[in-house]
């Protein structure tokens, strides 16, 4: 296990300069996620037009993994249809070994082909206690979408 695999530059960049980090005006859906054991918190807000997530915000406090995951998620989700987002959530969970699948969602020979920046988070898999940090914003997004 190497710390360089965990703390990739892109993760630290998202941690230090989180994208979509301002509250939305009158969001169509929002949810608060908390990890009571470690104190990570994230609020996800979405704006929906028709079937499309036209805007998203993730505001929170917590470790670099939870906050970078939230920031990368906002970039990946903005402008996508509900169906595309559901597929993204599924692929993310498979990548993080949260959901089992034989499908190779991350192609080591084609970085970025599948999940883009988010693939930087795959190093987290090797640190099992931190997987829940990466997953928190995604659980929260799912809750916001259900509203």
């Amino acid at each position: 296990m190497s710390l360089n695999e965990l703390y990739r530059e892109v993760i630290l960049d998202h941690y230090r300069a989180p994208r979509h980090h301002d509250h939305l005006d009158s969001p169509d859906g929002s949810a608060e996620g908390k990890n009571p054991l470690c104190g990570d918190e994230v609020t996800v807000e979405i704006k929906v037009a028709g079937d499309t997530i036209v805007d998203i915000a993730a505001i929170g406090v917590g470790c670099s993994i939870s906050q970078a995951s939230a920031s990368m998620m906002t970039e990946a989700v903005a402008g996508k249809s509900r169906e595309e987002v559901a597929e993204l959530v599924r692929k993310f969970k498979v990548m993080m070994s949260i959901e089992d699948s034989a499908e190779p969602v991350v192609d080591p020979d084609r970085p970025g082909a599948s999940l883009g920046d988010l693939e930087a988070l795959q190093g987290v898999r090797k640190f099992p206690v931190r997987i829940k940090c990466a997953d928190l914003p995604w659980i929260t997004l799912t809750q916001a979408l259900e509203q």
Partner: protein, 408 residues
């Protein structure tokens, strides 16, 4: 300073490696490691003396009962109590719940106040919240000063005739602050309030004398003082224990059971419903013997030495903030800190890769974390088996964290 380096050999777990490095265990405020003497005492009990206590009219049960009661005598001696004032239970949490449900539930009423400090562990907050839902009593908190000591001025001004019980931690598990329990107890008693002391961090690390403290109730856990998990102690002044109701009913704790009511066994047995943690009590007795052999003054002076060294070395790191008193006269060996904008969980992960175990989070004291205005802190805590080299390893690890996060 007292050199206790040789006693590391008594702790088998410290011989192993973690992630390819020798284990550096800096989380004794959460739970301590166990010396061979304690492990052997538990094994020996199961191999030679195991039976249920206070029941069987056969030799083995008498032997088990004797061992269990010997442990009680040892605990009583350790804190200068009478053995009838020592009730065994699961741990500090369970002990404080007994007071909240056995005393608070029957004595608190609307308009009454429970005065707690903002430094309390959830174990000395949540039981009072639960009981307040039934009694209508209000919870009030004493803040801390900017130098992380209890705000005595605020304490005295909050201590009025509405306060019926005061809950104080003898040593904060986050800040390390040692509170002046005797002084606080004198004022509480003058105001007509009882004093419940959470001594989970104090009893393992310094000499504690319940009479000198004038505590009405005092709670601590075996596992933080070299003993096994699952055993804790509630001390209470004899007359208070006599008057207090049991929070749990069942076997062992009765004198007689009729169809619709029962009478209780003598103290402390009326607070020990069900089969008690017998082997664990024996293990705690062995832990106390071990600590007594070293001497609690030597334990304290070793921790003063190692903690001052840690404070000094941590103080050399730029952008590192320590949350707790700077002076060793009123602090113990729990050192909470943050480093620049690196989240404590990230620090913990980075240190873990070097075999160093620290705590990251709110340390079961969320009201305190909020008043410190930090969502989480990292905490290194020391005990008799820690050496200066452990501190050096921690410092090296923190420097690596600075590099990884590009902190200047």
């Amino acid at each position: 300073m007292t050199d206790l380096a040789h006693i590391r050999a008594d702790f088998p777990i410290l011989r192993q490696e973690m992630n390819g490095y020798p284990l550096v265990y800096l989380d004794s405020a959460a739970t301590s490691q166990k010396p061979t003497a304690v492990l052997d005492a538990i094994t020996d009990f199961y191999e030679t003396a195991n039976a249920n206590v206070h029941r069987g009219a056969y030799a083995l049960s008498e032997i088990a009962t004797d061992r269990y009661e010997e442990a009680r005598t040892r605990v009583a001696g350790f804190i200068n109590a009478d053995r009838r004032e020592v009730a065994f239970n699961r741990g500090t949490t369970s002990a404080i719940n007994q007071v909240a449900y056995g005393w608070g539930l029957y004595n608190l009423k609307p308009g009454d106040r429970v005065l707690l400090t903002l430094m309390e562990h959830h174990a000395n907050i949540v039981p009072w919240q639960l009981v307040s839902r039934h009694t209508g009593a209000e919870l009030v908190y004493v803040p801390h000063t900017e130098s992380y000591e209890l705000d005595l001025e605020a304490y005295h001004s909050l201590l009025d005739e509405r306060v019926k019980v005061v809950g104080i931690t003898a040593m904060s598990n986050v800040l390390g602050t040692i509170n002046p329990v005797r002084q606080l107890a004198d004022a509480a008693h003058a105001a007509g309030a009882l004093v419940v002391v959470d001594a989970a961090q104090a009893v393992p690390h310094m000499a504690v004398d319940v009479k000198q403290m004038d505590a009405d109730f005092l709670a601590f856990s075996g596992h933080k003082m070299l003993g096994p998990t699952g055993i804790g102690v509630l001390y209470g002044k004899r007359e208070l224990l006599e008057a207090m109701e049991p929070a749990e009913g069942g076997g062992e704790m009765i004198s007689d059971v009729q169809l619709d009511s029962s009478t209780w066994a003598e103290v402390p047995h009326k607070f020990e419903a069900g089969t008690p943690p017998i082997a664990e009590a024996v293990g705690l007795g062995a832990a106390i013997s071990y600590l007594e052999k070293i001497g609690m003054d030597a334990v304290r002076s070793h921790e003063v030495d190692i903690t001052s060294y840690a404070l000094e070395r941590l103080g050399e790191i730029e952008n590192l903030t320590i949350y707790g008193p700077a002076d060793m006269t009123n602090r113990g060996g729990a050192v909470s800190f943050t480093l620049a904008d690196i989240h404590p969980h990230d620090l913990s992960t980075i240190l873990d890769q070097r075999g160093i175990a620290i705590r990251a989070g709110h340390h079961c004291a969320r009201p305190l974390a909020r008043s410190l205005n930090v969502p989480a802190t990292a905490r290194a805590s020391f005990y008799i088996y820690n050496v200066r080299a452990d501190v050096d390893a921690l410092i090296d690890g923190l420097h690596e964290a600075r590099e990884i996060f590009g902190v200047a």
